[in-house]
């Protein structure tokens, strides 16, 4: 009894320790964003100082202005998520309810595309995009994010569909529903919590993406990742400004995550705790 209480306490302390460790960089980022460049550059870490909004003011006006990048991030993240779901739903439906002997291979193959380091296909992608004029174009980034997230979206939607008993789909079939009617009136309503959390995850992954954004966009389609990176310079102090920009960049997604965390957790553990 006492030993289990002690181990509960020990695990509690450990969990808090790990949580603080993970959260600390974000805390430091927040603090730095409200410092002057001199304070931010100071060798002694300071927790107590007079906060200033100077860095935010500078950051908001940087380049084309914060809102330009935020809009591109939102546009490409939302669009890629919607396109991804639209492609994943029929694919997952076919694999979940009409599997054949190649279905398992197909699933593994799709995920295996995620094993390739992105930089490995950078040159060909860059050349293709350059040729077809998709460089620095929101559509180009949208397509990249869709392709990047599609295997994950299909896997997740597939697993939510698999949780729906096949009998229910067959009952709809016998009741006279076409495939589309079965999909829209039976399968999608049942998988909605799962689809929502899949969508949220895809949205977050696309919003946070930086490798392709930085290499494939510059001005017109530049996302918040490009915006943050633009603060880096070879000379002068930029840590406070960069921190302020980072705070501005992650704020929307943190707010979204905060409000949807219940949905996220429920969706991600949907199949596990039935």
């Amino acid at each position: 009894m006492t030993s289990s209480r002690f181990s509960n306490f020990a695990f509690g302390v450990l969990a808090w320790g790990v949580a603080l460790l993970i959260f600390f960089p974000i805390l430091w980022l927040l603090l730095t964003a409200f410092k002057t460049e001199q304070q931010a550059f100071s060798v002694d870490p300071t927790f107590w100082f007079t906060p200033t909004l100077e860095s935010f003011r500078t950051a908001l006006a940087q380049g084309n202005g914060y809102w330009h990048y935020a809009w591109n991030s939102a546009l490409t993240a939302v669009a890629s998520t919607l396109v991804g779901l639209a492609l994943a739903v029929p694919a997952a439906y076919a694999m979940a309810f009409y599997p054949n002997k190649r279905t398992d291979f197909l699933l593994v193959w799709m995920v295996s595309t995620k094993f390739i380091p992105a930089v490995g296909v950078l040159i060909p992608m860059f050349l293709v995009y350059k040729t077809v004029g998709l460089l620095d174009h929101p559509l180009g980034l949208t397509l990249l994010f869709t392709a990047m997230n599609l295997p994950i979206i299909i896997w997740m939607v597939y697993s939510y569909f698999r949780d729906i008993p096949k009998d229910i789909v067959e009952a709809a079939d016998i009741d006279g529903a076409s495939i589309l009617q079965t999909l829209f009136k039976v399968v999608l309503p049942l998988a909605l919590p799962g689809l929502a959390s899949t969508g949220l995850l895809a949205l977050i992954l696309a919003w946070n993406e930086s490798f392709w954004s930085i290499t494939m966009s510059d001005h017109r389609a530049a996302t918040l990742a490009v915006y943050i990176a633009s603060f880096k310079s070879a000379e002068g102090l930029f840590w406070a400004k960069m921190s302020a920009a980072s705070v501005l960049a992650i704020a929307p997604i943190i707010v979204l995550g905060w409000f949807t965390q219940r949905q996220m957790v429920r969706g991600l553990t949907f199949g596990a705790v039935k």
């Binding site: 016998i174 009617q181 039976v186």
Partner: protein
């Protein structure tokens, strides 16, 4: 309502050609209640799924009301199916579940409401119409599943083990209710079960299946009295039939611990045969005897007192024989019993093929002889 015909229907999976169902032939009467029964993996569910169109038959023809539906998708076969899991739509209310098929057929709202209310009244679930399936008990879900099937007034009902998720008491109640429902609606019904009691109590005709093949198609009483082979004999009836291997000499069957005399009709058939046979005796046909005539003797190993009857297991030579004796008879473990059986209640089976060795009618044989 319709006649359903299955002609040489077969289902093969994969290129290896292992048959799930082979050479299935059956023609129902209009409005008949047909039960498909057999152990798991015998092909009974596959057969039903082929009638439903959820699986395509690899061979043969399936006709519903004279129309070959082998290539017709489920929704155009005019059938309704009740699933073992009920398969209700969890996100819809009871009323919406029942109305779903009618809505898809674009029936008017008033007509849908009338039909749903009518079906709900028939099944006594009017007060549940606005509930979701998760708020219902197993028995109520079962009724909704039936309701969803009957609102459509289909030509054929298919029921795939609909009662196996219910507890024993509810199962008996629902059994009677489904039979009553069938009497009222008179829709041709296929009913799949692994439970021979369900089969015997519900079916007008029963198809006994094993390893994808029909063993026998008959009325419940004929299956019980005239099983076509050892499998059917052992499957139908509870407790199941005893089988003893016996040698045959001049109308007498003998083995370790028993000696049985054949009736004249069986004796005539056996006169032309040599070698051993399986003799089958139902537990309920065994009774106390003084040891004269037919006798099976052995030591009692297990006694199950059920009140109305007492079931005993007797060690007879190397085998066990089950007997169902009247309830007021007190029997102790270890007691030696001698049991008898009327000669006309014996069943004989070929030891090679397990097929029944039929009684040749005595009069017919006499006619040939003269």
């Amino acid at each position: 309502m319709a006649i359903v015909e299955l002609k040489n229907v077969a289902k093969r999976y994969g290129s290896s050609g292992s048959n799930a169902v082979e050479n299935f032939n059956l023609t129902t009467r209009d409005g008949e209640f047909v039960v498909l029964v057999g152990p798991s993996g015998c092909g009974k569910s596959t057969t039903m799924r082929m009638i439903a169109g959820l699986e395509r038959n690899t061979d043969g023809e399936i006709l519903i009301g004279g129309r070959d539906v082998s290539q017709v998708p489920p929704k155009e076969r005019d059938i309704a199916m009740v699933f073992q899991s009920y398969a209700l739509y969890p996100h819809m209310t009871v009323a919406e579940n029942m109305a779903f098929s009618l809505k898809l057929k674009k029936r008017s709202a008033t007509e849908i409401k009338a039909q749903v209310d009518d079906a709900a009244r028939t099944l006594g679930i009017e007060q549940l119409l606005e509930r979701k399936p998760r708020e219902l008990s197993g028995g109520q879900r079962q009724r909704v599943a039936l309701g969803r099937a009957i609102v459509r007034s289909p030509q054929v009902f298919l029921m795939d083990e609909p009662l196996s998720n219910l507890d024993a008491k509810l199962r008996v109640d629902m059994r009677a209710e489904i039979v009553k429902l069938h009497k009222r609606l008179k829709v041709t019904t296929f009913y799949v079960t692994h439970d021979q009691v369900e089969a015997m109590t519900m079916g007008e005709r029963i198809v006994v299946m094993k390893d994808g093949q029909i063993q026998q198609i008959d009325t419940p009483i004929n299956l019980y009295e005239h099983p076509a082979n050892r499998f059917v004999a052992g499957f139908i009836g509870n407790p199941s039939m005893n089988f003893l291997r016996a040698s045959h000499v001049d109308g007498v069957l003998e083995g370790e611990g028993f000696r049985l005399t054949l009736d004249p009709a069986h004796a005539k058939t056996m006169a032309a045969r040599a070698g051993d046979v399986w003799v089958g005796v139902r537990p309920e046909h065994l009774e106390d005897t003084d040891g004269e005539g037919n006798a099976i003797a052995g030591e009692v190993e297990v006694v199950e007192t059920l009140g109305s009857v007492t079931v005993v297991q007797l060690r007879v030579g190397e085998r066990f024989v089950t007997a169902q004796l009247s309830g007021h008879r007190r029997i102790e473990v270890g007691e030696r019993l001698t049991l008898g059986c009327a000669s006309d209640k014996l069943h004989l089976f070929d030891v090679e093929s397990d097929e029944v060795i039929a009684r040749n009618s005595v009069s017919a044989l006499n006619a040939v002889a003269t």
